[in-house]
């Protein structure tokens, strides 16, 4: 049986993990390479590393980090953040990433999805979408979920595009998966946006990874059920009483969610 995936996410700036999941017993808890391997060993089904480094010079640090992390990593490894060109993607793949994730750059120039997909295969391209429920319009025709809007630039800039339309275009252009972050839920710990996740998941045939809002194991049960998510991103949940992906997965399995166990 195909299992639901728990994906550990690390946000990295200047080569250091700034947000995400800490392991107290690591000698260097800010080292993304060490953390990536630790998460894989603690049962994560995949690892995502998002680079929020601003400057060009620091991209070199990222590639070094990717190389170090991938050396001991034998689960799928996705790298995102600042990938604007096919060359950027190639460098990350050469470093040992299996998939890349593109966000703002793909909205600005959607052909980027086609280009990377042609070169590295659709399975290697994740399109990350930051979406917020629509608040405009109060008429009967307005649907805050179906009209949810795509934001770029780390959620700062509205694009005027509907999340569902962009998800479909990304699929048509050859994206292999979608990583959907609900800006309404992100950071709340009140649960994923299951309505938005389900709306996107039903609109496309490719897998949808849900992100934003996880606060407890029950939230994962909801997003895999009602939310129709194929995978879910776990970041800060490991700060709040759940020690590892393994512990989370054992709990989810006991509640009827298919999980890769033992892991």
């Amino acid at each position: 049986m195909l299992t639901k995936r728990i994906i550990a996410c690390l946000d990295v700036k200047d080569g250091r993990v700034v947000k995400g999941i800490q392991f107290v017993d690591l000698i260097d808890a800010g080292d993304p390479a060490a953390l990536a391997v630790a998460h894989a060993e603690a049962g994560a089904d995949e690892i995502v590393l998002l680079d929020i480094t601003a400057t060009h010079e620091e991209r070199g640090t990222l590639i070094e980090t990717v190389k170090r992390a991938s050396r001991g990593l034998f689960v799928p490894f996705t790298v995102g953040g600042g990938i604007r060109t096919l060359d950027d993607a190639s460098a990350v793949f050469d470093g040992g990433a299996d998939k890349i994730s593109v966000n703002s750059a793909a909205v600005a120039r959607p052909e980027l999805i086609d280009e990377i997909g042609r070169c590295f295969g659709a399975q290697a391209v994740i399109v990350a979408i930051d979406g917020r429920r629509s608040s405009s319009g109060t008429g009967d025709a307005s649907d805050p979920v179906r009209d949810a809007e795509v934001f770029i630039g780390g959620g700062r800039n509205p694009t005027g595009r509907r999340v569902i339309d962009w998800a479909r275009e990304a699929e048509d252009r050859g994206a292999g998966e979608l990583l959907l972050t609900s800006m309404d839920s992100d950071g709340t710990r009140n649960g994923f946006d299951c309505e938005l996740t389900a709306a996107v998941s039903e609109a496309v045939a490719i897998p949808v990874i849900a992100s934003g809002g996880a606060g407890n194991a029950g939230h994962f049960v909801e997003v895999f059920g009602r939310g129709k998510a194929d995978a879910a991103l776990a970041a800060s949940i490991f700060h709040f009483g759940i020690s590892s992906a393994r512990e989370l997965k054992v709990e989810l399995a006991s509640r009827g969610i298919p999980m890769r166990l033992p892991c």
Binding site: F74, G95, G96, F120, G121, A122, A205, I206, R260
Partner: protein
């Protein structure tokens, strides 16, 4: 005789496969040169992406080199599209012929489930397989694909996704896996180690 040839046919990213082989102590040589394949002690054909990419194998004389090396009994491992290439072809690219090691065509999943099939799915393993030695039924491996081979008499591991399909084949020295052993944790490393140990 040289070592392990990992055939590069411009079909995506070989880094992960090579890295996993290194991790297991092998010294693979990534090559698009038929002469290197002809001298190799083992041949690995990875591959992600579109079946049409295997056309490059014909154009570069690699198909012929792999076929004759395999005929000499050298262990061959096809991964993902590499497994599909072992069959006669794929409906993904009907004009491109596979190696024809195994009869049959690969076809797109016909299922109400999502396609591509992405993620960790479980195996049913045939116990007499050398490639799958130490892998138990119920163990999980990582897949990402839209096309698959149906069951064959040389199928040694089966996975179910809207119906059973071939997760691994083994016909003497000719072996293939639809999953990605380089991304399948300890189970995947066990499979690669079995191949290296042949």
């Amino acid at each position: 005789m040289s070592g392990i040839a990992v055939v590069d046919y411009r079909a995506g990213n070989l880094t992960s496969v090579v890295k996993a082989l290194h991790f297991l102590g092998a010294e693979p040589e990534v090559t698009s040169d038929p002469d290197v394949v002809s001298r190799a002690s083992k041949v690995v054909l990875p591959g992600v992406g579109h079946f049409a990419a295997t056309k490059f194998l014909d154009e570069r004389g690699l198909s012929e080199a792999i076929r004759s090396r395999a005929k000499e009994g050298v262990p061959f491992l096809g991964i993902c599209v590499g497994l599909q290439w072992m069959f006669e072809g794929s409906t993904e690219a009907p004009s491109v012929a596979g190696a024809g090691f195994l009869e049959g065509q690969c076809e797109r999943f016909e299922t109400i489930e999502k396609v591509p099939h992405v993620g960790w799915n479980s195996l049913e393993v045939r116990s007499d397989s050398r490639l799958m030695k130490g892998v138990a039924s119920g163990d999980f491996v990582y897949f990402t694909h839209s096309y698959r081979a149906s069951l064959h008499h040389d199928t040694v591991a089966v996975t179910d996704y809207g119906g059973p399909f071939t997760a691994a084949v083994e016909a003497g020295n000719l072996m293939g896996v639809q999953f990605h052993p380089e991304k399948s944790g300890k189970t995947g490393l066990t499979v690669l180690k079995n191949f290296l140990d042949l």
